[in-house]
Symmetry: C2
Subunit: 343 residues, 2 copies
Amino acid sequence: MEVVNRYVVIKHHVDGAPTEADLEVREATARWAPGSGQVMVRNRFLSIDPYQLNRMKRSSASHLAVNGIVPGESITAYAAGEVVASDCDEYKEGDLVAGMLGWEDYTLFRPSPGMLMSKIDAGGDGFPLSHHLSALGTSGMTAYAGLFEVGKPEKGEKVFVSAASGSVGSLVGQFAKLAGCYVVGCAGSQVKVNLLKEKLGFDDAFNYKEEPDLKSALKRYFPDGIDIYYENVGGEMLEAALANMNTYGRVAVSGVMSEYTGSGRRAVPNMEQVIYKRITIRGFLAWDFLAKFDEFNAVIGDWIRQGKVQVLEDVSDGLDSVPSAFAALFRGDNIGKKLVKLA
Amino acid sequence: MEVVNRYVVIKHHVDGAPTEADLEVREATARWAPGSGQVMVRNRFLSIDPYQLNRMKRSSASHLAVNGIVPGESITAYAAGEVVASDCDEYKEGDLVAGMLGWEDYTLFRPSPGMLMSKIDAGGDGFPLSHHLSALGTSGMTAYAGLFEVGKPEKGEKVFVSAASGSVGSLVGQFAKLAGCYVVGCAGSQVKVNLLKEKLGFDDAFNYKEEPDLKSALKRYFPDGIDIYYENVGGEMLEAALANMNTYGRVAVSGVMSEYTGSGRRAVPNMEQVIYKRITIRGFLAWDFLAKFDEFNAVIGDWIRQGKVQVLEDVSDGLDSVPSAFAALFRGDNIGKKLVKLA
């Protein structure tokens, strides 16, 4: 079986905020053959994630954890699609899968034990396929692991979430409410703030762009201090959160979006506060909790079915929209999980 | 019973590096009376600790954990001495005690359940009394708790200790060797470096003042990376350690000496490294582990008796030497635990 495969590449390493022009779509022939041991997936939804920027850099700590992206070569990415050809018993034509595929029309893979690939029966599992890239995919796993395994919330604790209307933040806030916490989120527009309060059930929310002094803003929103800070942005926000944290506070460092592009200044945490307030700052990746993926997903799936968790997805159309969708992430244009739907 | 009590005070809040002139010795009458419920201790050794500087500041995160020091008033401090009068059954004249007393000749206290006070039988316990302020006091507890409870070393892991010839660092390195780790320390002179390697059994040590690039220095000393960084100094050293840490590395933040005085610049940790290397940075205070104090001390005491741990103490004479001894701490003049011996 031979198909024309369109795929996204970076033209060169990207070291600042990405622009649409840094990426382009190319095409090549993809071949699947019986006896190859391979599975060919026609991708239907692609996950557009900020961490890909770190993979695109010439040099980044990211390369220690995940392969860097090579200019001109196809880009592995979380995606969901349909099996169109298979030389493996576990996968049949028509099966739906979600896992590590690529920013491309078709992906070939050879099943291996540790790989991140979930199979969904051909009839589906009652959830939109796209959810397997958002709440039931790596965003959900990141939110769940970061909040429950790293943040370890107790009922009544106060949780602050930055980039709260993003793919991960929007779930963290809802999960924290379900854990009985008081939750405040920040985001970059009034529309997002309203959404957090009105649709997602955050106790409060604010537009950080309208706060000249983040430290005082957090003092207003958390008169009794912050117990858990779910960190997505870095820079000044981290400093302000630390200044407002309670004794034994936890910072779950999921991302530092403002530091990825090199445009914002880096956080200069007050280490005296870290000591005297006995704060734990812990970086993590969702992959570290892969063994618990099914367990987490069962819980999240129940919450979605019961209407306790709203899933926000922001979908662009067509492979050609990947470059602009990716660049837009860093302007904060998305609300919820950014996805690209393929024809 | 009435005695002339000489005590040390700060003349004003201290906000930079302290000088001898910021402190002075005053005197007043101290009175103990039968029926008062009080114990009077004649102090023999005073503990001189860097954290006291934070208590002397007008504003510091320290004040959240321990009372600030008020100019003109006596200063609580860890000390060891002899009971000279007691109105409590638990304490008898001649008993030796170590605990929260003060930078003064005599301290009165009223026993209470949570207080930090160890009683040593009148005959002593085989250890020099001064050890109850160093390896068997808060320095030992800080080193033990920070290494074992926060750092959680596994055999064969690589441990980096800054301010390694100081009261805490000198113990951390020895404890880590006993835990089967590879240990490198840094200090501020060749004499200290030799001491670490020759007397304390560190695998290696270096003089940070002779290293123009701390990041490359650590790369040389840890070609296979750092698993645990026991942090005493802050600033550039923290950045260099993070850059050289392995995946799942732990930073036990015991102190940030270089940041206390405001003279060095603050650390700007690379949070991308914290995320992708899944690093945990945790501030702690020895007090958090008070419930395990006796357990820790039993282990440390055995190690000392067996000759497996060397106790370094740097003793000045007389209450009048407290101001200069304290200021000298911040120039790195001491080797091991800084103590003042009273007549």
